[in-house]
Amino acid sequence: MTPAHFDGLMPVVIFMALAVILFTGGHFASVLLAPKKPSHGKSTPYECGEIPVGSAWSMFNVRFYVVGLIFIIFDVESVLMFPVASIFRELNDMGQGGYALIIFLSFISVLIEGIAYCWRKGDLDWVKSFQVSTKNNKN
């Protein structure tokens, strides 16, 4: 009941555990060694000497989300391309290179359409919203 397969995954767990151990160890050491003199001024968020107004957890511009959106679509497409890419050479050696190439390129062409659409609509421009707001100001 000990498949040797899983022993190969051991390093992953060991490294993660080492990271946690190192983190807690370093934290513990700093608790032991570091001075503890808390004061109100010290634990105020740093804003170059100004007294902070309001919380930083406020609303952000929606372009961050649009970037994340384009990212996740490309991410998922690359996930689907990985297994096909890893057998591409094998298929080519089996004489099915043309078939694999057609499948692969048609998959990528849809990907290219997505990026072309976002490019044309200006979702890839970071400063677009500024231009919109200046137009409004002129009006």
């Binding site: 929606v62 989300y65 959106l69 996740i72 679509i73 991410d75 998922v76 996930v79 689907l80």
Partner: protein
């Protein structure tokens, strides 16, 4: 310990947790979290069945596409949430009473 039943039990817990989140929460983002949990429960079931029952990889393909669809669903769902917030200034699900705008 590692049998089909334990995987099904875990996926049952995931499903119930997702369902409870969907029912009890009023924040739309939290409801999307619940949907992710439910989708994960079903994907886990597919892989567990493909290991213990059918012993081929069709279950893996299924859960792969579940993950793909989950990503698309999250992208569109969160976009709707953000648009909803821009209009209504809230993410409370009871405020979503209109189909247009």
């Amino acid at each position: 310990m590692m049998g089909l039943a334990s995987y099904l039990l875990i996926s049952l817990i995931l499903f119930v947790a997702g369902l409870v989140v969907m029912i009890a929460r009023k924040n739309i983002v939290a409801i999307l979290l619940g949907i992710e949990l439910i989708l994960n429960a079903s994907a886990l079931n597919f892989v567990a069945y493909s290991r213990y029952v059918t012993n081929n990889l069709d279950g893996h393909i299924f859960s792969l596409f579940i993950i793909v669809v989950a990503a698309a669903e999250a992208a569109v769902g969160l976009a709707i949430v953000i648009r909803f917030f821009q209009i209504k200034e809230t993410v409370h699900v009871d405020e979503a009473t209109q189909l247009r705008n």
